[in-house]
């Protein structure tokens, strides 16, 4: 292990030094430069983990290996926690997020209903790809999980060198716009019960699980209704044994039944973004061109 270049201020023969020599240390905190310095083995392990994790995001997975590799240098895995705000309207975008197993809701204002939902099929902050560096929505973490994150500056630099990424993001931006249109129309015209069913299915698709955690207040906010209205809508779904809902934990018991209850907007809204491509016949995740 090469430690000569590290600005160590550890006592010679002290427990820290001994642990480093035994290979039991992952990082050194350098108080002089206020930096966390990863040791080579830990760095390699994190890079490998990041490489694996990034494949779980459809936009990143669709890139050819060379572009994927180039992009990976600027990506870092982060854990996003329920309720965390990633972007605010009118505020410059600091990061682009590629979710791996988390879900992020897009809302217009704090009280406003949801206008988009992003999971492993997409990315948050893609306005940067369209030349806009200020967010138009609030991005709120709906389901805790991991995402790959890239700074806006790095994204700006890399985006222009990656034609496949450009193609994927333009296509995804169009799908996202279509989703927003559909959700807005859905919020205006469809019954709360159908919208709730649609929304639960969309969330389940994005977190890739039939079970997830949601508070009633959050549900009410996303659907733009009062909490009592959420209760009224969720009650029949539970009585018909389509879902269970205990202490904020939602479990989809009968997916087919829930799909039948949801409005047609569910099937029209991407995950099936690739359906919009004439060359792609299969629904599901973004695929390589």
């Amino acid at each position: 292990m090469r430690l000569k270049n590290l600005p160590l201020r550890l006592a010679k023969g002290g427990p820290e030094q001994q642990a480093i020599e035994a290979g039991e240390i992952d990082a050194i905190i350098d108080h002089a430069s206020s930096n966390v310095i990863l040791l080579p083995a830990a760095r390699r392990a994190l890079q490998e983990a990041a490489h694996e994790a990034s494949k779980a995001n459809s936009l990143l997975a669709a890139l050819p290996p060379a572009e994927h590799q180039r992009l990976l240098a600027g990506l870092e895995p982060v854990t996003l926690k329920f309720g965390e705000v990633l972007q605010e309207p009118g505020v410059p975008i600091r990061y682009v997020y590629f979710p791996v197993d988390c879900a992020i809701s897009l809302v217009t204002t704090i009280e406003g209903p949801e206008v988009g939902l992003v999971g492993y099929e997409g990315a948050v902050g893609i306005s940067l790809a369209l030349g806009v560096d200020v967010s138009s929505v609030r991005a709120l973490v709906q389901a805790t999980g991991t995402a790959m994150r890239m700074t806006a500056a790095h994204f700006d630099k890399t985006f222009h060198q990656c034609p496949a990424l450009q193609r994927e993001l333009y296509r995804y931006a169009d799908a996202k716009l279509a989703m927003a249109r559909q959700i807005v129309a859905c919020n205006c015209f469809h019954a709360v019960e159908a919208r709730l069913a649609r929304w639960l299915l969309m969330t389940s698709d994005r977190v890739r699980s039939e079970e997830f955690f949601l508070t009633q207040a959050f549900l009410a906010e996303m659907l733009g209704v009062r909490r009592a209205t959420v209760n009224e809508a969720a009650g029949p779904l539970q009585r018909r044994k389509l879902i269970t809902y205990t202490h904020g934990r939602i479990r989809i018991v009968d997916r087919k039944g829930l799909e039948a209850t949801a409005c047609g907007c569910y099937t029209r809204i991407a995950l099936n973004a690739p359906l919009r491509r004439s060359s792609s016949a299969s629904p599901g995740l973004a695929s390589s061109p």
Partner: protein
């Protein structure tokens, strides 16, 4: 406005000491993963519910590590009961961890 109520402790009732621990790690790094597993096993075996463990990822919270004077990760700090103690490394040396936690006498 709530009024604080003082409940007199029953004479002779056992006082449970909660061991407060903080583990500084780098999430996903091999020694850190091992340290968490080793510590959880030790806590399960020796401390049961009588402990509080906070895990701090220094990549997510570098300022905390700097403020707390942490030099390397993984690094375990016993904050309470006093005396405070530290162990660094992946915590595979169970005897060393137990000594730091003040549980040395309980080693099988």
């Amino acid at each position: 406005m709530s009024r604080r109520q003082h409940k007199p402790r029953a004479r002779g009732a056992p006082v449970t000491t909660v061991v407060v621990l903080r583990l500084y790690i780098v999430g996903g790094a091999p020694n850190s993963v091992q340290a968490i597993a080793n510590l959880e096993a030790i806590c399960r075996e020796y401390l049961k519910d009588g402990h509080k463990l906070e895990v701090v990822d220094v990549l997510e919270h570098p300022r905390r590590a700097l403020a707390d004077g942490v030099l390397v990760t993984p690094s375990l700090a016993k904050l309470s009961p006093l005396p405070a103690a530290n162990v660094v490394g992946n915590l595979s040396d169970k005897a060393k961890v137990l000594l730091a936690l003040g549980l040395k006498g309980k080693v099988q």
